[in-house]
Symmetry: C2
Subunit: 429 residues, 2 copies
């Protein structure tokens, strides 16, 4: 597929295929998301203890009321509220003590009028009682009698049957990323296994005739593989399983074979490396040759990350990332993270509002070209007057700038720059 609907043309520069324009990051992401298959991941059943961070694939509802009996929320005395009406310190209500109630036991007695039972927090109310007077508002007269100093209303200090979770109430919706309290709620209603979506599998195919493995000793002209490690860890953070397929030569047939074999075991393919125009063009050609629809965009008005390639091959999205580590990180945040979220079955909360963000004042002016979304790496420094964001200088080809930085802020497409002192939203790594 050749690109339709290019939106932002920047300063007359040609894209890498010489098509004369590149599109905005928003438009590129829109094309990608529109082209993704509707298919959800396979499901798997797991114990709730292992469900943290997984995406729920079934609607969880309760087969019973929680709690299934009326419980006291305080330490005190179970009463019929009516017996306490009008009670005050000046005019206490005198009540007769019945048997104490013990935790975890069903009270044997039926409370008759004018009588109370001592009850612990969490204890079951006896029949005949509808409320609990807190210990603080009771005085002991003798071993069989107490004074109630304040009235209670019916239901006071009591959790009613089904008040926490009603029978058949939906507790966890499909698409929720499971949090600790979700696991707790399952335990509470007796659900010890959950059906979740399987983790996505993402292949990372490194290419570049200059790339050697991290454990190798590079000779002159060679460098060690950095990006496949960064990508694998970023994928792990999203909950996906990274499959590092290895380092391949920049050769049409070699890379075609690597990509085709990954189509079988991957929900997503990321090509890393290929920094030069010739290699980029070859990767674009491979994606378009596999097709259906093939390339969706090649070149985006994004810095760093401009030469990024995005496409879909059948049901599998594919990315050709620039070789610079900073560009890899930005392209991951802008394109791969939302694609992984969509494919994983996650139903997004807060309209995808970015989290893990802190505000800081920019320590120096940063300029940006209009017509380009720019991601600026910053160090966060805590000074006496609050947090400051200090731009990290250095080329995007350096991994060290990413290591020094604490996060990035974005200068949007149509903004020229940000002045020192302005507050920016820094998305932390």
């Amino acid at each position: 597929m050749r690109l339709a609907g290019c939106v932002v043309i920047i300063d007359g520069m040609k894209d890498m295929l010489g098509r004369g324009n590149v599109i905005s990051a928003d438009e590129a992401l829109r094309l990608l998301l529109k082209g993704l298959p509707e298919k959800l991941p396979d499901k798997i059943r797991i114990p709730i203890e292992h469900a943290l961070g997984m995406i729920c694939a079934e609607e969880i509802s309760s087969s019973e009321d929680l709690p299934h009996f009326a419980r006291s929320t305080v330490d005190g005395y179970a009463v019929m509220a009516e017996d306490t009406f009008g009670a005050s310190e000046a005019m206490p209500a005198y009540m007769t003590l019945s048997n104490e109630i013990f935790m975890g036991e069903k009270p044997e007695i039926v409370l008759s009028r004018g009588r109370v039972c001592k009850i612990p927090t969490g204890g079951m109310l006896p029949a005949g009682a509808d409320s609990v007077v807190m210990l603080e508002y009771v005085q002991n007269v003798d071993e069989t009698m107490i004074e109630v100093l304040r009235p209670v209303v019916p239901g006071e200090n009591v959790i009613q049957p089904g008040e926490d979770v009603r029978k058949e109430e939906i507790v966890i919706p499909v698409g929720r990323k499971i949090r600790p309290q979700d696991i707790g709620a399952c335990a509470g209603i007796g659900i010890t296994e959950l059906t979740v979506y399987k983790r996505l599998r993402a292949s990372i195919i490194s290419s570049g005739d200059e790339i050697v493995p991290a454990g190798a000793l590079p000779v002159m002209g060679q460098v060690r593989d950095i990006n496949s490690y960064v990508l694998a860890a970023m994928l792990s953070e999203t909950g996906a399983v990274p499959l590092r397929k290895g380092i391949f030569r920049d050769d049409y047939r070699v890379l075609l074979a690597a990509i085709e074999s990954s189509l079988d075991d991957s929900d997503l393919i990321i090509l890393s490396g290929g920094t030069s125009v010739g290699t980029k063009d070859m990767i674009a050609k491979i994606i378009d040759d596999i097709g259906d629809p093939g390339i969706l965009f090649h070149g985006v008005s994004l810095k760093p990350g401009k030469p990024v390639i995005g496409g879909i091959m059948g049901k599998v999205p594919v990315f050709g990332l620039p070789g610079h580590p900073a560009a890899v990180s930005v392209c991951f945040d802008v394109f791969i993270r939302p694609v992984v979220a969509r494919l994983s079955g996650l139903r997004e909360r807060f309209g995808g509002h970015p989290v893990n963000v802190i505000k800081a004042r920019l320590a120096k002016n940063v300029s940006s070209s209009q017509g380009r979304e720019e991601h600026i790496r910053v160090i966060i420094e805590e000074r006496e007057d609050g947090l400051w964001a200090i731009p990290v200088l250095g080329k995007s080809g350096l991994i060290a700038t990413l290591v020094k930085a604490d996060g990035t802020f974005i200068i949007p497409l149509h903004i020229n720059g940000v002045e020192a002192g302005e507050v920016v939203e820094v998305r932390l790594f």
Copy 2:
């Protein structure tokens, strides 16, 4: 140890041990952190692929320059910058083409004046060249000659040896929580294994005669264990390993034995359950009987979470948490999370500034008692005019309120409440 330095006395209410006052959450945390052992966790050596989120236990520095040769950052022509001085579209510099440079190979030639080599992004500069002219600013005259249309300065479009990481430069400090780019940097300098701190082990001891396992069918008066699941998952989120020790009877000797046996295998002990005064007092007594120093605080001006107990037994901090799920969650955030961070060897960034926070306008008035730090659970709703925080009503004993909520905001100790429309910072779950 009996409590010294109580700071905030709230409305004449006695704490659970009848000592007549409770302390602020800040003061309670300060006592805990002050009493923690200086000891760091044991170390372990792991492959960098497994290091994501672990705390680095060694200072990582580079034994070599990265890159170890001058590399081009663009596709273009390697030149001696001086040869391009004064070049313009009107008056191009004519240069003679030498051999092309290939990726991953050391160029054989030494570039002489007036000559250029075609070089790909990432390619190694030949001897004699000090800069690279971008492809865009060159026109081919014939097979042996090009026109350079713009001058470059020495070093332009080149990454110098050691520019990314200098030999002996510190790349990762001790105490850093390893991020994807940190792993990438290690790979880049040939480090494939890291020494990290072992994960902390935290015992969760559930007590309560009414508590049955999640898989059991509770009879009248009994409820299923919720809190040990919530706590285990929250611990996992912090990077600690939860050890769910099981459900024990509310009996001095039983709980003493459970705690003592956990002192051997745990960096941290959490007692969950024991909602009633009698049980709380018993747990406090056990902690104080084990001692050294024993109880640090019992009762904090915090809602929910007031009856929380904190102490230290030798080198092991111990928490007695209230039984209500919402209180468990709040006490975890306020006390356990910072203690885990400190014990794990993490060096905190941004002065512990909370992250994962979004701002939203409060949808209705919320009142709070002065002299009590209150944590309000809210649902985040996206409306046309932005994000709104809707307080979740319901008793803190309900797990469902935690499941419905997206996060909490805090009404500090000395504030009476927050009015509808005010912006609050919501810490997301």
